[in-house]
Amino acid sequence: MQIHISLDDGVPIYLQIVNQIKYLVASGRLISGEQLPPVRKLAEQLLVNPNTVARAYRELESARVLSTRRGAGVYVCDAGSPLNRRERNKILNERIDILLTESRQMNIDIEDVIKLLRQRSRLIK
């Protein structure tokens, strides 16, 4: 599982882990039912405090992205559930807000932004 922690980010480490796992699930790189590494292992991999990983896993469990099976490990929840769709939209909304802010600062009209979106979509086939 490819997660990268950046200290320059400003975002707390546990939240970086949460966001990246949400992204991996939403983009299909972590599939439903797939097992995640145990807290210790991920902590060693990322070179961070195990409490930080545990906190991230707890948040993801509350958000119903992950579920813990007693004694058997941590797994990705069913991707088809409405909650995960909500998560996917949330991630997209964050990116859309960045795009909208920048285009506004550059005085680019919303209609032009939509035109650009369609153009790029055709190019990235």
């Binding site: 200290l7 400003g10 707390p12």
Partner: protein
């Protein structure tokens, strides 16, 4: 029996004319990883030596596991894994001999685990300590500190002066130890980035004074980097309440501030400025700003 593994209260320590520690207090709760950060000469090693009973507090008190380490060294030291800054090891011994020599000092020495560590650290049992590289010395010293599965790990600059590969190994070994329950860690370092990864809480010490002690989360939530754009060009650095540092000008100024973000934004408005950029500084940025602003 309270749940602080280390309790240091109002300790003052002077070496000749130099005040190494000035009214320093620090509590390290059980199971916490506490990072002690400060410049070289700030007092980190002096503080750790008090916890070990190597230095006796003339003013103030020191309790480790509820005991006085000076009065009861046996009760305390057998439960501590200590990595000294200079990796103090007997030069003439071989690695294997050092392991056999250390074992009787620690009732909880786990020989199988010690061997496992030796293999993980790629240390040759027959190699003489005086021929070890810097990284191998650090790993050897860390092996002895970890092998008895101590309740308290005291690490003085564990990865300082080591190349990136060895640093990774050392941090990795420390993290594996942390994952075992109930262990308390106090590590001192001037590598703030590493501390930020590994520590639950941080104590910043500067010129023998404790500047700030809090959880890493709290510290990061309470500090912000704000770029303000002023209506009018400012001749000198604008006075923003809570600001620890300030660069820029004449229209845009970037501050590293301590405070609540809403209050800071309000303060910006009263100065006839608005926030154009906002980010969370790294722990290292916060450390530098706090220490510099204390100096001025």
């Amino acid at each position: 029996m309270n749940d602080n593994t280390i309790e240091i209260s109002h300790v003052r320590r002077q070496f000749g004319k130099t005040v190494a520690l000035d009214d320093v207090s620090l509590n390290v709760p059980q199971g916490i990883v506490m990072g002690l950060i400060g410049e070289n000469g700030a007092g980190k090693t002096t503080l750790i030596k008090h916890a070990l009973g190597l230095l006796k507090a003339k003013t103030g008190g020191v309790r480790v596991f509820g005991l006085d380490p000076v009065a009861d060294p046996v009760g305390v030291l057998g439960r501590i894994g200590y990595l000294s800054e200079d990796r103090d090891l007997p030069e003439w011994m071989r690695v294997g001999e050092l392991m056999r020599y250390s074992r009787p000092f620690y009732p909880d020495w786990d020989q199988a685990y010690a061997e496992e560590l030796r293999e993980t650290f790629e240390l040759d049992s027959d190699q003489k300590i005086k021929t070890l590289s810097k990284g191998q010395r650090a790993r050897t010293a860390l092996l002895v500190a970890l092998a008895h599965r101590p309740d308290l790990l005291l690490l003085d600059e564990p990865s300082t002066g080591l190349d990136p590969i060895v640093r990774r190994d050392i941090i990795s070994a420390i993290i594996r130890t942390i994952a075992e329950e109930g262990r308390t860690v106090l590590l001192s370092s001037h590598l703030v980035d590493e501390v930020e990864r590994v520590a639950d809480s941080v104590a910043i010490i500067h010129h023998g004074e404790m500047v700030l002690t809090d959880s890493v989360d709290n510290i990061k939530e309470a500090h912000h980097r704000l770029t303000l754009r002023f209506h009018e060009p400012q001749a000198g650095a604008p006075q923003l309440p809570g600001a620890l540092s300030c660069v820029g000008g004449p229209l845009e100024w970037t501050f590293l501030c301590n405070g609540q973000i809403d209050q800071l934004k309000e303060a910006a408005k009263t100065l006839d400025a608005h926030v154009v950029e906002q980010s969370t500084p790294t722990l290292e940025d916060i450390f530098i700003a706090r220490v510099k602003s204390k100096a001025s």
